[in-house]
Protein backbone atom coordinates (compact mmCIF):
# COMPACT_ATOMS: atom_id res chain seq x y z
CA UNK A 1 0.00 0.00 0.00
CA UNK A 2 1.18 3.45 -0.88
CA UNK A 3 1.99 5.73 1.93
CA UNK A 4 0.23 8.73 0.34
CA UNK A 5 -3.01 7.06 -0.42
CA UNK A 6 -5.95 8.87 1.04
CA UNK A 7 -8.01 6.99 3.50
CA UNK A 8 -11.34 7.95 1.98
CA UNK A 9 -10.18 8.30 -1.59
CA UNK A 10 -13.52 7.73 -3.32
CA UNK A 11 -15.32 10.68 -1.68
CA UNK A 12 -15.30 13.88 -3.80
CA UNK A 13 -14.75 17.09 -1.83
CA UNK A 14 -17.98 19.10 -1.58
CA UNK A 15 -18.20 22.33 -3.57
CA UNK A 16 -18.02 25.33 -1.32
CA UNK A 17 -21.38 27.07 -1.43
CA UNK A 18 -20.61 29.74 1.12
CA UNK A 19 -20.77 32.50 -1.54
CA UNK A 20 -24.08 31.35 -3.00
CA UNK A 21 -26.17 33.69 -0.81
CA UNK A 22 -24.01 36.61 -1.89
CA UNK A 23 -24.58 35.83 -5.55
CA UNK A 24 -28.31 35.47 -5.09
CA UNK A 25 -28.49 38.68 -3.07
CA UNK A 26 -26.65 40.44 -5.87
CA UNK A 27 -29.28 39.25 -8.36
CA UNK A 28 -32.02 40.22 -5.95
CA UNK A 29 -30.75 43.76 -5.57
CA UNK A 30 -30.36 44.08 -9.33
CA UNK A 31 -34.00 43.18 -9.88
CA UNK A 32 -35.18 45.36 -7.03
CA UNK A 33 -33.45 48.36 -8.55
CA UNK A 34 -34.32 48.03 -12.23
CA UNK A 35 -37.93 46.88 -11.99
CA UNK A 36 -41.10 48.42 -10.69
CA UNK A 37 -44.14 46.82 -9.16
CA UNK A 38 -46.72 45.70 -11.68
CA UNK A 39 -49.46 48.31 -11.80
CA UNK A 40 -52.27 46.43 -13.43
CA UNK A 41 -52.92 42.79 -14.09
CA UNK A 42 -53.51 42.47 -17.79
CA UNK A 43 -56.63 40.67 -18.90
CA UNK A 44 -55.85 41.25 -22.55
CA UNK A 45 -53.14 40.49 -25.07
CA UNK A 46 -50.74 43.40 -25.05
CA UNK A 47 -48.02 43.10 -27.63
CA UNK A 48 -47.07 46.67 -28.40
CA UNK A 49 -46.26 47.72 -31.97
CA UNK A 50 -42.72 48.76 -32.79
CA UNK A 51 -41.50 52.26 -33.58
CA UNK A 52 -38.14 53.98 -33.60
CA UNK A 53 -39.02 57.68 -33.37
CA UNK A 54 -40.02 57.41 -29.74
CA UNK A 55 -39.80 59.81 -26.86
CA UNK A 56 -39.50 58.83 -23.26
CA UNK A 57 -42.52 59.40 -21.11
CA UNK A 58 -41.56 61.77 -18.39
CA UNK A 59 -42.21 60.30 -14.99
CA UNK A 60 -42.40 63.65 -13.25
CA UNK A 61 -45.84 64.20 -14.73
CA UNK A 62 -48.79 61.98 -13.89
CA UNK A 63 -49.57 59.19 -16.33
CA UNK A 64 -52.77 57.21 -16.73
CA UNK A 65 -52.82 53.97 -18.63
CA UNK A 66 -55.53 52.71 -20.92
CA UNK A 67 -55.14 49.19 -22.25
CA UNK A 68 -56.85 47.64 -25.23
CA UNK A 69 -56.52 44.35 -27.03
CA UNK A 70 -58.26 41.03 -27.51
CA UNK A 71 -58.96 39.19 -24.25
CA UNK A 72 -56.48 36.53 -23.18
CA UNK A 73 -57.30 32.86 -23.73
CA UNK A 74 -59.00 32.41 -20.36
CA UNK A 75 -61.41 35.29 -21.01
CA UNK A 76 -62.18 34.55 -24.64
CA UNK A 77 -65.08 32.29 -23.81
CA UNK A 78 -66.85 35.05 -22.00
CA UNK A 79 -65.82 38.10 -23.96
CA UNK A 80 -64.99 36.83 -27.45
CA UNK A 81 -61.94 37.68 -29.51
CA UNK A 82 -62.83 41.24 -30.45
CA UNK A 83 -60.47 43.84 -28.98
CA UNK A 84 -61.71 45.25 -25.69
CA UNK A 85 -60.84 48.02 -23.35
CA UNK A 86 -59.26 47.57 -19.94
CA UNK A 87 -59.20 50.26 -17.30
CA UNK A 88 -57.40 49.53 -14.04
CA UNK A 89 -57.96 45.84 -13.36
CA UNK A 90 -61.15 45.15 -15.23
CA UNK A 91 -62.79 45.24 -18.63
CA UNK A 92 -64.65 48.43 -19.39
CA UNK A 93 -66.93 49.97 -21.94
CA UNK A 94 -65.87 52.91 -24.08
CA UNK A 95 -68.29 55.22 -22.25
CA UNK A 96 -66.51 54.64 -18.93
CA UNK A 97 -63.37 56.45 -20.08
CA UNK A 98 -64.63 59.88 -19.15
CA UNK A 99 -65.38 58.94 -15.55
CA UNK A 100 -62.07 57.06 -15.38
CA UNK A 101 -60.17 60.17 -16.48
CA UNK A 102 -62.06 62.32 -14.00
CA UNK A 103 -61.26 59.88 -11.21
CA UNK A 104 -57.59 59.90 -12.20
CA UNK A 105 -57.60 63.68 -12.20
CA UNK A 106 -59.03 63.79 -8.70
CA UNK A 107 -56.32 61.48 -7.43
CA UNK A 108 -53.46 63.75 -8.39
CA UNK A 109 -52.27 67.05 -7.01
CA UNK A 110 -54.13 70.04 -8.31
CA UNK A 111 -51.20 71.81 -9.93
CA UNK A 112 -50.34 68.71 -11.92
CA UNK A 113 -53.82 68.05 -13.27
CA UNK A 114 -53.22 69.86 -16.53
CA UNK A 115 -50.18 67.73 -17.23
CA UNK A 116 -51.95 64.41 -17.12
CA UNK A 117 -50.74 62.23 -19.97
CA UNK A 118 -52.76 59.28 -21.10
CA UNK A 119 -50.64 56.39 -22.29
CA UNK A 120 -52.48 54.16 -24.74
CA UNK A 121 -51.20 50.63 -24.52
CA UNK A 122 -52.94 49.02 -27.42
CA UNK A 123 -52.20 45.58 -28.79
CA UNK A 124 -50.68 45.67 -32.26
CA UNK A 125 -53.37 43.31 -33.58
CA UNK A 126 -56.23 45.60 -32.56
CA UNK A 127 -57.86 47.74 -35.22
CA UNK A 128 -58.27 51.48 -35.34
CA UNK A 129 -61.99 51.36 -34.62
CA UNK A 130 -61.49 50.98 -30.89
CA UNK A 131 -58.53 53.38 -30.86
CA UNK A 132 -60.60 56.02 -32.66
CA UNK A 133 -63.39 55.59 -30.13
CA UNK A 134 -60.94 55.95 -27.24
CA UNK A 135 -59.49 59.09 -28.77
CA UNK A 136 -62.94 60.60 -29.27
CA UNK A 137 -63.80 59.87 -25.61
CA UNK A 138 -60.54 61.41 -24.46
CA UNK A 139 -61.30 64.54 -26.43
CA UNK A 140 -64.64 64.74 -24.73
CA UNK A 141 -62.99 64.26 -21.33
CA UNK A 142 -60.53 66.98 -22.35
CA UNK A 143 -57.50 64.74 -21.77
CA UNK A 144 -55.62 65.83 -24.84
CA UNK A 145 -52.07 64.77 -24.11
CA UNK A 146 -51.72 61.21 -25.25
CA UNK A 147 -48.88 58.83 -25.88
CA UNK A 148 -49.02 55.74 -28.04
CA UNK A 149 -46.88 53.28 -26.12
CA UNK A 150 -44.59 51.33 -28.41
CA UNK A 151 -41.76 48.89 -28.20
CA UNK A 152 -38.46 49.84 -29.75
CA UNK A 153 -37.61 48.48 -33.15
CA UNK A 154 -37.99 49.35 -36.78
CA UNK A 155 -41.54 50.35 -37.71
CA UNK A 156 -41.12 48.60 -41.05
CA UNK A 157 -41.06 45.23 -39.26
CA UNK A 158 -44.54 45.60 -37.83
Amino acid sequence: MSKFKNKKDDALPAVNTASLPDIVFMLLFFFMVVTVMREDTLLIENKLPLADQVEKLEKKYPISYIYAGSPTASFQERYGKEARLQLNDKFAEIGEIESFINAERLAIREELRDYLTVSLKVDSEANMGIVGDIKQELREANALKINYATGSGSALDN
Binding site: V24, F31, A51, Q53
Partner: protein
Protein backbone atom coordinates in the same frame (compact mmCIF):
# COMPACT_ATOMS: atom_id res chain seq x y z
CA UNK B 1 -19.01 27.16 35.04
CA UNK B 2 -16.57 27.36 32.16
CA UNK B 3 -17.07 30.11 29.65
CA UNK B 4 -18.42 28.76 26.38
CA UNK B 5 -17.92 30.49 23.06
CA UNK B 6 -21.14 31.43 21.32
CA UNK B 7 -22.12 28.84 18.75
CA UNK B 8 -21.99 29.96 15.14
CA UNK B 9 -25.33 30.64 13.47
CA UNK B 10 -25.97 28.24 10.66
CA UNK B 11 -26.15 30.27 7.49
CA UNK B 12 -26.86 27.37 5.20
CA UNK B 13 -30.44 28.42 4.51
CA UNK B 14 -29.50 32.00 3.69
CA UNK B 15 -29.34 31.14 -0.01
CA UNK B 16 -32.84 29.65 0.09
CA UNK B 17 -34.26 32.76 1.71
CA UNK B 18 -32.55 34.98 -0.83
CA UNK B 19 -33.85 32.82 -3.66
CA UNK B 20 -37.34 33.11 -2.28
CA UNK B 21 -37.12 36.89 -2.24
CA UNK B 22 -35.59 36.93 -5.70
CA UNK B 23 -38.40 34.85 -7.15
CA UNK B 24 -40.97 37.05 -5.44
CA UNK B 25 -39.52 40.14 -7.10
CA UNK B 26 -39.19 38.42 -10.45
CA UNK B 27 -42.88 37.58 -10.43
CA UNK B 28 -44.40 40.78 -9.08
CA UNK B 29 -42.37 43.39 -10.93
CA UNK B 30 -41.88 44.40 -14.52
CA UNK B 31 -39.10 46.22 -16.26
CA UNK B 32 -40.64 49.56 -17.20
CA UNK B 33 -40.45 50.60 -20.83
CA UNK B 34 -42.41 53.80 -20.98
CA UNK B 35 -41.67 55.22 -24.33
CA UNK B 36 -43.85 56.01 -27.26
CA UNK B 37 -45.07 58.57 -29.73
CA UNK B 38 -46.46 61.70 -28.10
CA UNK B 39 -49.48 63.28 -29.66
CA UNK B 40 -51.85 66.10 -28.84
CA UNK B 41 -55.52 65.59 -29.59
CA UNK B 42 -57.42 68.55 -30.99
CA UNK B 43 -59.96 70.00 -28.55
CA UNK B 44 -63.61 69.79 -29.44
CA UNK B 45 -64.71 73.13 -30.74
CA UNK B 46 -68.24 74.38 -30.84
CA UNK B 47 -68.10 76.53 -33.93
CA UNK B 48 -66.57 74.62 -36.77
CA UNK B 49 -65.49 77.23 -39.23
CA UNK B 50 -63.77 75.78 -42.21
CA UNK B 51 -60.35 77.18 -42.76
CA UNK B 52 -59.52 77.34 -46.41
CA UNK B 53 -56.24 75.69 -47.17
CA UNK B 54 -54.82 75.35 -50.64
CA UNK B 55 -54.94 71.82 -51.89
CA UNK B 56 -51.25 71.87 -52.76
CA UNK B 57 -50.35 72.54 -49.13
CA UNK B 58 -52.04 69.38 -47.95
CA UNK B 59 -50.34 66.01 -48.08
CA UNK B 60 -53.02 63.41 -47.70
CA UNK B 61 -52.23 59.99 -46.30
CA UNK B 62 -55.03 57.46 -46.19
CA UNK B 63 -54.69 54.02 -44.67
CA UNK B 64 -57.51 51.81 -45.83
CA UNK B 65 -59.05 48.79 -44.14
CA UNK B 66 -56.58 46.44 -45.84
CA UNK B 67 -53.62 48.44 -44.48
CA UNK B 68 -52.76 49.86 -47.88
CA UNK B 69 -51.39 53.38 -48.10
CA UNK B 70 -52.90 55.93 -50.41
CA UNK B 71 -50.64 58.96 -50.50
CA UNK B 72 -51.84 61.94 -52.56
CA UNK B 73 -54.27 59.54 -54.28
CA UNK B 74 -51.56 57.09 -55.27
CA UNK B 75 -50.69 53.74 -53.80
CA UNK B 76 -47.42 53.77 -51.91
CA UNK B 77 -45.28 51.35 -49.94
CA UNK B 78 -44.63 52.20 -46.29
CA UNK B 79 -40.87 52.39 -46.86
CA UNK B 80 -41.27 55.19 -49.42
CA UNK B 81 -43.51 57.31 -47.20
CA UNK B 82 -40.73 59.01 -45.25
CA UNK B 83 -38.94 60.25 -48.37
CA UNK B 84 -42.21 61.44 -49.94
CA UNK B 85 -43.14 63.36 -46.78
CA UNK B 86 -39.71 64.98 -46.60
CA UNK B 87 -39.92 66.03 -50.25
CA UNK B 88 -43.32 67.59 -49.62
CA UNK B 89 -42.36 69.42 -46.42
CA UNK B 90 -39.04 70.67 -47.68
CA UNK B 91 -40.33 71.84 -51.04
CA UNK B 92 -40.44 75.61 -50.43
CA UNK B 93 -42.57 76.46 -53.46
CA UNK B 94 -43.03 80.19 -52.83
CA UNK B 95 -39.34 80.85 -52.17
CA UNK B 96 -39.90 82.35 -48.71
CA UNK B 97 -38.08 79.45 -47.06
CA UNK B 98 -34.36 80.10 -47.42
CA UNK B 99 -33.33 77.00 -45.46
CA UNK B 100 -35.27 74.52 -47.58
CA UNK B 101 -33.42 72.18 -49.87
CA UNK B 102 -36.41 71.03 -51.86
CA UNK B 103 -37.18 71.23 -55.54
CA UNK B 104 -39.19 74.49 -55.24
CA UNK B 105 -41.94 72.89 -57.27
CA UNK B 106 -44.82 75.40 -57.48
CA UNK B 107 -47.33 72.54 -57.56
CA UNK B 108 -46.24 71.31 -54.13
CA UNK B 109 -46.20 72.97 -50.68
CA UNK B 110 -45.39 76.68 -50.30
CA UNK B 111 -43.20 76.46 -47.21
CA UNK B 112 -42.83 74.18 -44.16
CA UNK B 113 -45.02 76.48 -42.09
CA UNK B 114 -47.96 76.05 -44.43
CA UNK B 115 -47.44 72.40 -45.29
CA UNK B 116 -49.92 70.17 -43.52
CA UNK B 117 -49.95 66.42 -43.42
CA UNK B 118 -53.44 65.02 -43.21
CA UNK B 119 -53.78 61.48 -41.92
CA UNK B 120 -56.92 59.48 -42.32
CA UNK B 121 -57.67 55.93 -41.36
CA UNK B 122 -60.62 53.60 -41.45
CA UNK B 123 -62.07 51.59 -38.60
CA UNK B 124 -60.66 48.37 -40.02
CA UNK B 125 -57.12 49.71 -40.25
CA UNK B 126 -54.80 47.77 -37.97
CA UNK B 127 -53.22 49.61 -35.09
CA UNK B 128 -49.72 48.49 -35.98
CA UNK B 129 -49.99 49.93 -39.48
CA UNK B 130 -51.28 53.18 -38.04
CA UNK B 131 -48.35 53.37 -35.63
CA UNK B 132 -45.92 52.58 -38.44
CA UNK B 133 -47.32 55.43 -40.50
CA UNK B 134 -47.24 57.82 -37.54
CA UNK B 135 -43.68 56.74 -36.91
CA UNK B 136 -42.62 57.40 -40.50
CA UNK B 137 -44.22 60.85 -40.48
CA UNK B 138 -42.53 61.76 -37.20
CA UNK B 139 -39.31 60.45 -38.70
CA UNK B 140 -39.73 62.78 -41.68
CA UNK B 141 -40.03 65.79 -39.38
CA UNK B 142 -37.16 64.59 -37.23
CA UNK B 143 -34.92 64.09 -40.23
CA UNK B 144 -35.51 67.64 -41.46
CA UNK B 145 -35.01 69.06 -37.98
CA UNK B 146 -31.87 67.00 -37.46
CA UNK B 147 -30.41 68.33 -40.67
CA UNK B 148 -31.18 71.87 -39.57
CA UNK B 149 -29.71 71.25 -36.12
CA UNK B 150 -26.48 69.89 -37.61
CA UNK B 151 -26.22 73.07 -39.68
CA UNK B 152 -26.91 75.74 -37.09
CA UNK B 153 -25.84 73.82 -33.98
CA UNK B 154 -22.05 74.11 -34.41
CA UNK B 155 -22.32 77.87 -35.04
CA UNK B 156 -24.14 78.33 -31.74
CA UNK B 157 -21.88 76.18 -29.65
CA UNK B 158 -23.56 72.79 -29.86
CA UNK B 159 -21.51 70.70 -32.30
CA UNK B 160 -22.20 67.02 -33.00
CA UNK B 161 -25.74 67.22 -31.77
CA UNK B 162 -28.79 66.52 -33.89
CA UNK B 163 -32.27 67.71 -32.96
CA UNK B 164 -33.33 64.51 -31.21
CA UNK B 165 -30.14 64.61 -29.16
CA UNK B 166 -30.73 68.27 -28.31
CA UNK B 167 -34.19 67.53 -26.98
CA UNK B 168 -32.84 64.60 -25.02
CA UNK B 169 -30.10 66.74 -23.50
CA UNK B 170 -32.54 69.48 -22.67
CA UNK B 171 -34.65 67.05 -20.68
CA UNK B 172 -31.62 65.40 -19.11
CA UNK B 173 -30.95 66.75 -15.63
CA UNK B 174 -27.28 65.79 -15.90
CA UNK B 175 -26.68 67.94 -18.98
CA UNK B 176 -23.92 70.46 -18.27
CA UNK B 177 -24.16 72.80 -21.27
CA UNK B 178 -26.01 76.08 -21.58
CA UNK B 179 -29.66 75.18 -21.18
CA UNK B 180 -31.10 78.57 -22.15
CA UNK B 181 -29.23 78.65 -25.41
CA UNK B 182 -30.21 75.09 -26.19
CA UNK B 183 -33.86 75.88 -25.60
CA UNK B 184 -33.59 78.83 -27.95
CA UNK B 185 -32.24 76.65 -30.75
CA UNK B 186 -34.85 73.96 -30.18
CA UNK B 187 -37.63 76.53 -30.34
CA UNK B 188 -36.12 78.05 -33.45
CA UNK B 189 -35.95 74.74 -35.28
CA UNK B 190 -39.45 73.92 -34.14
CA UNK B 191 -40.79 77.09 -35.73
CA UNK B 192 -38.80 76.47 -38.88
CA UNK B 193 -40.24 73.00 -39.28
CA UNK B 194 -43.47 72.98 -37.27
CA UNK B 195 -45.14 69.63 -36.84
CA UNK B 196 -48.47 70.11 -38.55
CA UNK B 197 -50.05 66.74 -38.58
CA UNK B 198 -53.79 66.73 -38.62
CA UNK B 199 -55.96 63.69 -38.26
CA UNK B 200 -59.35 63.40 -39.80
CA UNK B 201 -62.00 62.60 -37.22
CA UNK B 202 -65.12 61.03 -38.56
CA UNK B 203 -68.14 61.98 -36.55
Amino acid sequence: MAKRSAPEVNAGSMADIAFLLLIFFLVTTTIPKDSGINRKLPPIEENDEDVIIKQKNIFTVLINGKDQLLVEDELMELKDLRAAAIEFLDNGGDGSCDYCNGKKDPASSDNPDKAIISLKNERETSYKQYISVQNELVAAYNELRNRRAKLIGPRRGFPDMDFVKMEENFKDAKFTGNREKLKEIIEEIRTEYPEKLSEVYTK
